[in-house]
Structures are given as structure tokens and as C-alpha cells.
């Protein structure tokens, strides 16, 4: 509001305000000449950098090994593949000619510069709740990136873009964030970030047949790039339930005691969050943990039970062939590190504490065992080596059956089929 008021006091500002007001219209907004980077306020650009890190923007707007924000990242959806766009300020291939009003409209309403609908793979469902100030800062940030001339591959989607209008009419509501005055400021900050910019729900909430979130299952576990995104609500399968301190630490470092290391699509999220002020990760953690409505005593009890469990049950589990074979494979391939615990040199997390074993599908474990968990480029800590070439499909399946038997959950169904599906690259 302050900014709008400031603009009103300036001469010739009325058309700017008119532009901002026209956000909800669906027609094209005339392109502008690219703005000089120096015309943006440095503090605002820095603020935008913080916000872009929370939004994990770089991940979907950067091709593997590509230039930052120049687009080309393939996002596989049940409806085809959509490629992240070039959001560098290149005038021809990026968003160099996008006015701030056009940028704001894309973020809040899912329309491109010409007024065409954007696929909701671009998470405007969440960005619609962003504040004016944060949108100003994000605009300043993207418009001051190095312009890169790059056109991403054409989308390969089964649904034509005009049809998105129908989807939006049914599922998309432009909205602003509504805080809860009865909650502490930290919680509200977390709620705002999680429900807008961080868009946690995009992966951690299950989706229906038409790709819309199931609103009655908020953060009850979803899917991302062939990985399961675990539930964060009271159904959280985390063997040791999260508390605000451990979750905040996890979000910053990807590695905290008694929890598995961040892997898969969560890895870039953590890499980005490691760069934001601690208050942001603390706020996110406080809000997320509050969604798990279980009483803290219940959670403590669960944590105690998980930690008291034997490091790994001996192979004498009265089991079938798969469990026996899996136990032998575990002893030969995994136990050396995982039986020793993290405190020992080269030791790793005792697997009964690993969330990969307790989620409803073996998919994450398949990815982790096959590909390992490779640390980031500036990260020298030991890593989970890959076993892709070491284990055949049927051995991997046996190992998965055995690992699942270490938990109190029912066996996974069709483990072999899941392994085969993952081999074909179901991402």
C-alpha cells in the first residue's frame, strides 16, 4: 500500500496504477522496453533474491547444466511435459519486455504477457497469495539477472493451453493471504511463506484425476518427479516426528539427527533454503509442524519408540525367501555403514529411522539405492553411494521387501512391478 500511495503522489503515476489495477483483465498488456538493471533499488533486488530462494524458482527455470533462470527444465506431469521458461531479462527469449504489471499478473493470475493461460505447473495457485511488496522485490530480482538468449523446447502437453481456462474456472481462485491473529507472528510468517511462495503443497498434497490438489488432504503426501513427497500433516510417516527445531535444521542443511538426509526433489529446495535468513526456515518449520495436529506427548512417545527400536533386526525374521535374501544383501551392502549410526566414522542413519521405509511406496528407496545421494557441489561430506549397477531388479526388490519389514507398516504391494516401472524411468 505504501508503494501505491507513493506512486500516487508522483506525477504521471496514474497510468501505472491503472496498469496495476488492470491485473485482473485478461487481454494483452503492451510490452515495454527492457529496463536498465541499475534502475532497480539494490536492497529490493537483494530482498528478491531471498524470496526467489524460498520459491525454489531456479530449479524449474534452469535446464540441467544450463544457465541460471534461462529455462528448459523438463517438468513431467501426468498430462505431458512442460518446460520451465526463460525468466532472464533477455528481450527476445526471456521476459525482458515484461512490465511489472505483466509479471504481477502472471504470478497472481497465471496469464502470460499476451494474456494466454499458463499451465498450473507454474505454481500461480500459490503465488496468487503473495504480497505486493514481495512481488515488487521478485520483479526487481529477475529483471536484474544476466540476460540469456535461450528458447526452451516446446511443451509436449496433451491439454492445449486454451483449455486451461476450464481448469482454472473450476480449481483456481485468485486470493490474498489471510493471517490468523490468534497465532504468533512467527507462525503467521511461516503460513504466508508456505502457502504462497514456498508452495510446499504443490508436491506434498495429493492431486486428483485432473491434477488439482485434494483440498481435504492438505499436505497429506503427494508426488514430485517420480518421488513420493511425504505427508506433513498428522499422518506424517516420519519414524521420529518432527519438531520445529529439527525441521528448521533439516530445511537449512538437509541433514539432522534421527532423520534421513534430504534427497530427490527436496535437495534443491534445501540448497536454496540454506541461503535465506534463519528466521525464514524457523517460520516455515513452526507452521508445518503445527499442521501435524497430534499432541506433543503422542509425538514424543512415537519418537522414543522409534529410537529404542533395534538398529536393524537380525535376519532371523521368520520370513519368506525375499526377506532372507534381502537380509543377506542388507548385511553385505548396507549394514557396514547403516548399522554403525552417524556418530561413527563413515556411519549412516540406522534405517528404521529412515522415512523412505515408512512412506506408502518404495519409489524413493528405489531412486536412492540406485542412484545414491550425491552431495551438492560444495559439500564434502560422505555420501550414499549408488548401487544401480550392483543390484539386479529382483535383488533390489528383495532388499526393499526386507527393509519394509523393519517397520511397523504393512508390506508394500507389487514391489517388483514398482522396481520395473522405475527402471523404465517413470519420472
Amino acid at each position: 500500500m505504501m508503494i501505491v500511495r507513493a506512486l500516487m503522489t508522483m506525477p504521471a503515476a496514474s497510468f501505472v496504477v491503472a496498469w496495476l489495477m488492470s491485473c485482473s483483465s485478461s487481454g494483452p498488456i503492451e510490452p515495454t522496453e527492457p529496463r536498465r538493471p541499475a534502475s532497480f533499488d539494490t536492497a529490493r533486488v537483494l530482498e528478491g533474491a531471498r524470496l526467489a530462494a524460498i520459491g525454489n524458482c531456479i530449479t524449474c527455470h534452469t535446464a540441467p547444466q544450463g544457465r541460471a533462470y534461462a529455462g528448459g527444465y523438463p517438468l513431467h506431469t501426468p498430462f505431458g511435459t512442460v518446460y520451465g521458461t526463460n525468466i532472464t531479462p533477455d528481450a527476445e527469449t526471456g521476459i525482458g519486455r515484461w512490465s511489472e504489471a505483466q509479471f504481477v499478473r502472471a504470478m497472481r493470475e497465471g496469464l502470460d504477457r499476451e494474456g494466454q493461460h499458463l499451465y498450473p505447473a507454474f505454481p500461480y495457485e500459490y503465488f496468487t497469495r503473495l504480497s505486493d511488496d514481495d512481488l515488487h522485490a521478485l520483479y526487481a530480482f529477475v529483471m536484474t539477472r544476466e540476460p540469456v538468449r535461450a528458447t526452451p523446447p516446446a511443451n509436449r502437453m496433451l491439454v492445449p493451453r486454451p483449455a486451461i481456462a476450464l481448469w482454472k474456472a473450476r480449481y483456481f481462485k485468485p486470493a490474498r493471504f489471510q493471517g490468523d491473529a490468534s497465532r504468533p507472528a512467527m507462525w503467521n510468517r511461516g503460513a504466508y511463506v508456505v502457502e504462497s511462495l514456498a508452495h510446499c503443497s504443490a508436491c506434498h498434497t495429493p492431486r486428483g484425476a485432473l491434477g488439482a490438489e485434494k483440498k481435504d488432504a492438505y499436505l497429506a503426501g503427494g508426488e514430485a518427479g517420480g518421488w513420493h513427497a511425504p505427508a506433513l500433516d498428522a499422518t506424517s510417516p516420519s519414524p521420529v516426528p518432527w519438531n520445529p527445531a529439527t525441521l528448521a535444521g533439516y530445511l537449512r542443511t538437509g541433514l539432522v539427527d534421527e532423520h534421513a538426509i534430504a534427497a530427490g526433489p527436496m535437495k534443491p529446495v534445501v540448497m536454496n533454503l540454506s541461503q535465506v535468513p534463519e528466521e525464514d526456515t524457523r517460520a516455515i518449520a513452526e507452521y508445518i509442524v503445527s499442521i501435524d495436529a497430534r499432541a506433543s506427548r503422542e509425538r514424543e512417545g512415537r519418537a522414543k519408540a522409534a529410537l529404542a527400536a533395534p538398529v536393524s533386526r537380525a535376519a532371523d525374521l521368520v520370513g519368506d525367501r525375499a526377506i532372507r535374501n534381502g537380509a543377506a544383501l542388507y548385511a553385505g551392502a548396507c549394514g557396514d555403514c547403516h548399522d554403525r549410526g552417524r556418530a561413527a566414522e563413515g556411519g549412516a542413519l540406522p534405517l528404521p529411522l529412515a522415512i523412505g521405509l515408512t512412506i506408502p511406496t518404495p519409489r524413493n528407496l528405489i531412486h536412492i539405492i540406485r542412484g545414491g545421494i550425491v552431495p551438492g557441489p560444495h559439500d564434502a561430506r560422505p555420501w550414499m553411494p549408488e548401487f544401480g549397477g550392483a543390484l539386479s531388479d529382483s535383488e533390489l526388490a528383495d532388499l526393499l521387501v526386507y527393509l519394509r519389514s523393519l517397520t511397523d507398516r504393512p508390506p508394500w504391494r507389487d514391489v517388483e512391478a514398482e522396481v520395473k516401472r522405475a527402471s523404465k524411468g517413470d519420472e
Binding site: A331, G332, A333, P382, P385, F387, G389, A390, L391, S392
Partner: protein, 157 residues
């Protein structure tokens, strides 16, 4: 009794099924090319190729191999008649202490057999898990690029 196919030959071993492949190769079969470095799949000195894929033999139980063929550096050629990968490493004088080199060669071999046209960037990425404590990486990278050329032009030396 476990049957193990290494470099095209079938061997029998009395080893416990959980024994790391590396120990069987070195202690039972006398194939000392693959090295014990960390024993935790962190350094790559033990790398061998199983059915086309680079594998840490120190953390692979011998029982996991089944009927798949294992290739070790001994399978790439001999001292008298080195194969293209080995010739390239000799040409580039890529070894300092040499401990990591069999692992480097095997991971590179797996890469080039799958991607004969691997770029220097591909090679760098693929070899990332293998450590050289002497610091001969630049020569190792040159050697692998050279090996790609030699492998393409067949056995001409």
C-alpha cells in the same frame, strides 16, 4: 559355493555370500587390479564393471552378482598388449602413485562403452565419484579423452 563370471571366465568360490566382491576378486581369484581404498563406496578405487555398469566392488556382496559378467582392469588388456584405455593412460602418463587408476579406468570404460561420443564435460561428471589423492586429474581426463579416440579408431595404435 558361488559361481562368478569374471572377464569372461567362470570361477567358483567358497566365500560367504555377504563377502564383498572386491575381497573375492583379490583374495580368492588373485585379481589385484581393483583396490581397497575406503571400503565404504566413497573413493572409487575398487570400481569394476558389472554388465556395463560401474560398481563399487567393496560394498557389493558377491551374492548380488548372480550370472552377470564382471570386468576388472585385467580384462582390458595385459602388460604386453594393453587395451585402448590402458594405452591412453600410459600415453598421458596419468598415474602418479597409481592406486586410483584401475578404478578410474573401469568407470571411464563403462562410460565410453555406453557413450562413445562422451564430451570432456560428460567425462568429468562421470568420474566425479572417483578420487585421486595425488592430484593427477587433469592427466586422467586427458587420458580418457584419448581413450575415446583410440576406442573409436579400433585397435590401431
Amino acid at each position: 559355493m558361488i559361481e562368478l563370471r569374471v572377464n569372461g571366465r567362470v570361477h567358483r568360490t567358497e566365500a560367504d555370500p555377504q563377502t564383498p566382491l572386491l575381497y573375492v576378486l583379490r583374495d580368492d581369484l588373485g585379481l589385484n587390479g581393483a583396490k581397497f581404498g575406503c571400503g565404504l563406496g566413497q573413493c572409487g578405487a575398487c570400481t569394476v564393471v558389472v554388465e556395463g555398469e560401474a560398481v563399487y566392488s567393496c560394498i557389493t556382496p558377491v551374492s548380488a552378482i548372480g550370472s552377470r559378467n564382471v570386468r576388472t582392469v585385467e580384462g582390458l588388456g595385459t602388460g604386453e598388449t594393453p587395451g585402448p584405455m590402458q594405452r591412453a593412460f600410459i600415453e598421458a602418463q596419468a598415474a602418479q602413485c597409481g592406486y586410483c587408476i584401475p578404478g578410474m579406468m573401469m568407470r571411464a570404460q563403462a562410460l565410453l562403452e555406453r557413450h562413445p561420443g562422451a564430451t570432456p564435460e560428460d567425462i568429468r561428471r562421470a568420474l566425479q565419484p572417483n578420487l585421486c589423492r595425488c592430484g593427477t586429474h587433469m592427466r586422467i581426463l586427458r587420458a580418457v579423452e584419448r581413450a575415446a579416440e583410440l576406442m573409436k579408431t579400433g585397435s590401431r595404435s
